[in-house]
């Protein structure tokens, strides 16, 4: 038993070690507290001039900063002290006004060469960074009911058009129920509905009154409506959350009917809730003739102001969809779809007004911060709610409009997609309510990080000491493996973009404790082999070989449990499962392959009589 590794194995070990060092390294560079400035609309230029204005405001308020950069779309100002972040945000917001979004951010300080290699620090979960977590449930039944109400009106009007008489038509739960006087009427109605309303399915149940028609949404239509409702709510929520000025917000679907919103760094939950639950709205108004009407500015400020009629033709509630696309000549346009009621009203109003202009008014409910002098002479900054109305589109009516129409004559694809987005953002497709809310204050987050680091350090130190005392020479090897394991674990988590949570840190601590198990097993085996009279080299080889089976089985089963934990858990607990799983895998490598490599390098191929184990 020479106990020598071929060169490629040694190189592989070396490569993994280098990998661990490189990808764990970004965590050594703590990020700078920073402010991020961006524009409400993507057309706004955030350049050096804007940056200069911000820096001046900060200078006046005596808030220290040490670096500012602007790249045309956003500006990033690094502050010296995180305690000043909140105040700096208020100062900058008050100075720059509502068109700018000011967000608290953490600017990475990862050296260029590390980020070129794809290195970045671990993401911190909300329990470590502080922030708000909302779980919202979308009321899908309401979305279905809205759709059915629209369908009911349409069915009724098309029956009237076809002169098919009925006794009554009404919505009951999720069914449309129609009653007729005779068989002929019901047959005519059924065939009309089959032909024109594919999504509505006539139900035939036994014992059903033969003069009653029961209509239900088909399964495909139902899932489509539900899916669209969630998607539209997600879009609206994203737009709203962007307004909050959070650096890395998360808005994503969870399960069938829930949406998770995570806002790191946000402390004012009341404000967050107001914005999430707020309603931006749209109004379609004809351009005023003469002097009666209201004057509005354009949202992008590029065109002249326009005077619109005081009452809207339709509102955002009637808009079911808006998509950016291209017309026949390849020019950008926006296709708009209205619900039945909206389509009817639109048709009615535009019939006699071809040639006039139709404006779309975007109405936002916002808060601004106002500076004022308090009673004791110091400056106070108070939030004041206000409503903003801007024109986002003013186009000439070319012909009578109906349920679907388009807005053409847009300058760029960027303009069309932004208009479509604003049109869609108008209203939520279905009401939502908060089913879970967790707020973690910044002080608690910081405490959690401190406590986590402390317990990892102390736990690690105790295990290192224990191994050294019990296994002496080989204990040193196990300790090298353990330290490498921690580095690899951190490296992998950083590379995979896994989120670190407090239970995740507990998982790391637990991994540290359990990771030495494999080495304990191997070393115990080697001791046994030596006691059984094997040669030193033979004992090492046999010890590793025999222990492998146990280690493998034991770790696979633990991995199974960790995976199940990941599947059933949420947020923080998933963080625990992630660190535990990655820890199991990395510890198998370090304790089996790495230590063997070290043992081989030190004692392999030599004549040694006694092992210091």
């Amino acid at each position: 038993m020479p106990n020598k590794f071929p060169l490629w194995k040694n190189l592989m070990i070396l490569a993994v070690v280098v990998f661990a060092f490189i990808y764990a390294a970004p965590n050594l560079y703590p990020p700078d507290p920073a402010l991020q400035l961006s524009g409400q609309s993507s057309a706004m230029q955030i350049d050096q001039a804007v940056l200069k204005k911000v820096e001046q405001a900060l200078g006046e308020a005596q808030i220290e900063y040490f670096a500012g950069e602007a790249d045309g779309e956003t500006a990033l100002i690094r502050l010296t002290d995180s305690d000043l972040q909140m105040r700096a945000k208020e100062v900058v917001q008050a100075e720059m006004g509502g068109e700018y979004i000011v967000a608290l951010n953490l600017a990475p300080t990862t050296p260029q060469w590390l980020s070129d290699l794809g290195g970045s620090p671990m993401k911190l979960g909300l329990d470590l960074s502080g922030g708000v977590h909302f779980l919202l449930e979308v009321d899908l039944n309401a979305a279905l009911t809205t759709r059915l109400e629209g369908d009911l009106q349409e069915v009724k009007s098309s029956l009237r058009e076809e002169k098919i008489r009925y006794r009554s038509f009404e919505l009951k739960g999720q069914q449309i129920i129609g009653r007729f006087r005779n068989e002929q009427q019901i047959e005519q109605a059924t065939s009309l509905i089959r032909a024109n309303f594919r999504d509505l399915q006539p139900q035939n149940k036994q014992g059903q009154n033969p003069l009653t028609l029961v209509l239900q949404l088909s399964d495909i239509a139902t899932s489509q409506i539900e899916d669209n409702a969630i998607k539209q709510n997600l879009t609206s929520l994203r737009n709203r959350v962007n307004e909050l000025g959070v650096s890395e917000p998360l808005v994503s679907r969870q399960g069938k009917n829930r949406i998770v919103v995570e806002l790191p760094g946000v402390q004012d939950t009341a404000e967050a809730k107001r914005i999430i639950g707020k309603t931006a709205n749209l109004e379609f108004r004809l351009e005023a003739e003469g002097r009666i009407g209201e004057v509005f500015e354009f949202r992008d400020g590029r065109s002249l102001d326009a005077r619109l009629e005081t009452s809207p033709v339709i509102t955002g509630e009637n808009v079911t969809d808006a998509r950016a696309s291209y017309d026949e000549n390849g020019r950008p346009q926006v296709n708009i779809t209205l619900d039945t009621k909206g389509g009817w009203q639109m048709g009615h109003s535009t019939r006699d007004n071809v040639g006039r202009k139709l404006g779309v008014l975007f109405i936002e409910y916002k808060t601004k911060l106002e500076k004022s002098l308090g009673s004791n002479g110091d400056m106070q900054i108070t939030p004041v709610p206000f409503v903003e109305k801007h024109i986002i589109s003013l186009a000439t009516v070319q012909s009578q409009l109906g349920k679907s129409f388009r807005i053409t004559g847009l300058d760029s694809q960027r303009e069309s997609s932004e208009l479509a987005l604003l049109l869609r953002a108008g209203a939520l497709a279905a009401p939502m309510y908060i089913v879970e809310e967790r707020t973690i204050g910044p002080s608690l987050g910081a405490d959690n990080i401190r406590l986590g680091v402390q317990s990892v350090t102390i736990g690690m130190a105790m295990v290192l000491l224990f191994m050294l005392v019990v296994y002496r020479g080989f204990g040193v090897l196990a300790n090298v493996a353990l330290t490498m394991n921690l580095l690899l674990l951190v490296g992998f988590m950083s590379l995979l973009g896994a989120t670190l949570t407090l239970p995740g840190i507990a998982g790391i601590v637990l991994t540290v404790g359990m990771a030495v198990d494999a080495n304990v097993l191997i070393f115990s085996r080697i001791r046994e082999e030596l006691a059984g009279g094997a040669s030193v080299q033979g004992a090492i080889s046999a010890g590793y070989d025999r222990a492998f089976v146990s280690i493998f089985d034991a770790n696979i089963t633990t991995l199974i449990v960790a995976v199940i934990l990941f599947l059933i858990g949420s947020g923080p607990v998933q963080g625990f499962a992630v660190t535990l799983s990655i820890g199991i895998l990395t510890s198998m490598f370090t304790s089996i392959v790495l230590t063997r490599g070290l043992v081989n390098a030190i004692v392999g191929g030599r004549k040694i009589d006694k092992l210091w184990i």
Binding site: D127, R527, S550, T558
Partner: protein, 304 residues
């Protein structure tokens, strides 16, 4: 190095059986009788943690809240004299946390809002179901894996050892009225993983010895296997206990119960991997015959 001492572990198995049975019965009685004190994650409700500048008298604060019209608020210190946790159970309602905070704010000194949790009743219920289901799936998958890799009798032993550990850990939480939240559930599942790890290492040695030692009774084989793995079992438990102690002492209030659950579980798991799994195997008359499957052989170590 001296010859390995063989301890007669199995000689004590009747005492161990009585010991385990008593623990299990007491745990089960408490679990069925008074159940677990469910944390907010499972029960639903609202809680708010605030930090004051000076130590706070919780009784006074409780009275203040009652005067403000909050029904039966639970007010306790959390970690330190200046930290207070207020919980309103049974009436989950969204605006509650904001109203609570505004009332607390009236007190003249600065308070630091450390966290707010609101969990709707349906979420709590779902988590309860998911937690229980996860536990069952974990046990089933593990039983299957052990049955395939080892043998049916081993897998019964392993799973009974796991059930034993889980029930007793839960039992201790029920008896001591410690709060059972999501992190504790994670800890209990980690106990399943840990205890399994232990049991598998022992089972592995038993399997090996059954194949190697031809002239010995099952009791002797098991005793020898347990003695051989004893130091490994103790050393691993020691290192794990050390880090758990670090978590318990320095990890902060939020993972206090997590660390406690794991410490109980690791302790019980160490005992059960020696006594429960092996005793069950003996009770099922495990024998060499069960393991003679030449084609299964050894797993070839293709790693260095």
């Amino acid at each position: 190095m001296s010859e390995l001492k063989i301890y007669n572990f199995m000689g004590l198995r009747r005492i161990a059986l009585v010991f385990s049975t008593v623990l299990l019965l007491v745990s089960a009685a408490s679990l069925f009788g008074q159940g677990l004190v469910l944390g907010l994650d499972f029960s639903g409700g609202t809680q708010i943690e605030v930090g004051y500048e000076k130590p706070v008298d919780v009784a006074e604060l409780r009275q203040h809240l009652k005067n403000e019209g909050f029904d039966d608020p639970v007010v306790v210190h959390f970690g330190s004299e200046t930290d207070v946790l207020i919980r309103m159970q049974g009436q989950p309602d969204q605006g509650l946390a904001d109203r609570l905070y505004s009332v607390l704010k009236i007190s003249d000194e600065e308070i630091d809002l450390r966290r707010v949790d609101f969990v709707g009743p349906q979420i709590g219920e779902e988590l309860r179901d998911k937690g229980g289901l996860g536990m069952l799936i974990a046990l089933a998958v593990v039983m299957l894996y052990v049955a395939i890799r080892f043998q049916f009798k081993f897998s019964v032993g392993a799973v009974l050892a796991l059930v034993h550990d889980v029930v007793i850990t839960l039992g201790v939480f029920s008896i001591t009225r410690l709060e059972f939240d999501l992190t504790v559930l994670a800890a209990v599942l980690a106990v399943v993983g840990y205890s399994l790890n232990d049991t598998i290492v022992v089972s592995d040695r038993i399997r090996e010895n059954f194949r190697k030692i031809r002239k010995a009774s099952p009791v002797e084989v098991i005793n020898e296997s347990l003695s051989q793995t004893l130091w490994r079992t103790i050393n691993t438990s020691m290192t794990t206990m050390l880090v758990l102690l670090a978590l318990f002492l320095f990890g902060g209030e939020l993972i206090h119960n997590f660390a406690i659950a794991l410490m109980i579980g690791v302790g019980i798991g160490t005992y059960s991997s020696i006594y429960v799994a092996a005793t069950v195997m003996l009770a099922m008359n495990v024998d060499r015959e069960d393991l003679i499957e030449p084609e299964e052989g050894e797993l070839v170590d293709d790693l260095p």
